[in-house]
Subunit: 131 residues, 2 copies
C-alpha cells in the first residue's frame, strides 16, 4: 500500500507465490519462478537440475506427501549483492502423513536482464546437505 | 594431481586462499576474491558493501580479534547453478581473546565472464541474521 513503512521485498512475494503454488500443485506457475538451470535439493544427496527435472521432483514430492503439503516461512532475511540475492529462511513444511518439519532453508535468486528475480538454487535443507 | 579421484572444486581452493589471507592480514589478496558489489555480514545486523567497506571491516575484525584470528572449514558442500554457486560450510573461527566459534556459514559465488569465481555474498553467520 502507499506509504507502507515495510514494503515487501519482491523476492519475499515470489517465495509466497511459490509456497501457494506448491500447495495448489500448480507446477506450471511454480516452474516459471526458477531459472532454466536452477538446482533443487530434493533431499540431502539428491538434486534436480533444470525445469523438466524440477517439475518431476515437485510432482514426486506432492505424491510422497499424500497431496496434503503446506509450506510457510516463519522468518526470513534477504542479502542482496547486485543481481544476486541470498535468502535465509525458517521454512515450515507440513503434511498429513509426516511430522511437521522446520528447516533452516537457503535460497539463491538471480535478477534477469528484464528485472525479474528467479530462483537459481533451492536448498530447503540448509547445512544438512554437508556429508 | 592427474587421476585424482576427488579434485578440489575451484571455489574450495578460493575459500582456503581467503582463510589464509585473513590469517596473514593480507587484505590486498583477500579483497580480490570478492565481486565489486560484494556484501559481507560483519555481524548480524551489520553489513559491509563493496571493496572499500570490506577492507575496512576486515581490518576492524583483525584488530577486534587481537591480530590472532585463525579460520578453517570443518565441512563444506557446494551447489552450482550455471554461473552461480551456494556454499554451505561449517566455519571455525579462533582467536586468542575469544571463545572458539563454529558457524553454519553461507557463501554465494558468481562466475565472471573470464571464468573466475568471485564471492558475492559472505555470510558466515548463516541463519543468525534472521531477526
Amino acid at each position: 500500500m502507499p506509504g507502507d513503512p515495510h514494503p515487501k521485498h519482491p523476492i519475499e512475494a515470489l517465495i509466497e507465490c511459490a509456497d501457494r503454488a506448491i500447495e495448489a500443485e500448480d507446477f506450471d506457475t511454480l516452474i516459471e519462478l526458477y531459472t532454466e538451470d536452477a538446482v533443487l535439493v530434493v533431499r540431502p544427496g539428491l538434486t534436480a537440475v533444470g525445469h523438466d527435472q524440477l517439475r518431476r521432483a515437485f510432482e514426486a514430492i506432492a505424491a510422497h506427501l499424500d497431496h496434503s503439503v503446506s509450506v510457510r516461512q516463519a522468518g526470513m532475511h534477504i542479502l542482496e549483492a547486485g543481481d544476486t540475492a541470498l535468502v535465509l529462511a525458517r521454512t515450515v513444511v507440513r503434511a498429513d502423513n509426516a511430522e511437521q518439519d522446520e528447516r533452516a532453508a537457503t535460497y539463491v535468486f538471480r535478477r534477469a536482464p528484464d528485472g525479474r528475480w528467479l530462483c537459481a538454487i533451492d536448498n530447503s535443507y540448509g547445512h544438512d546437505v554437508i556429508e
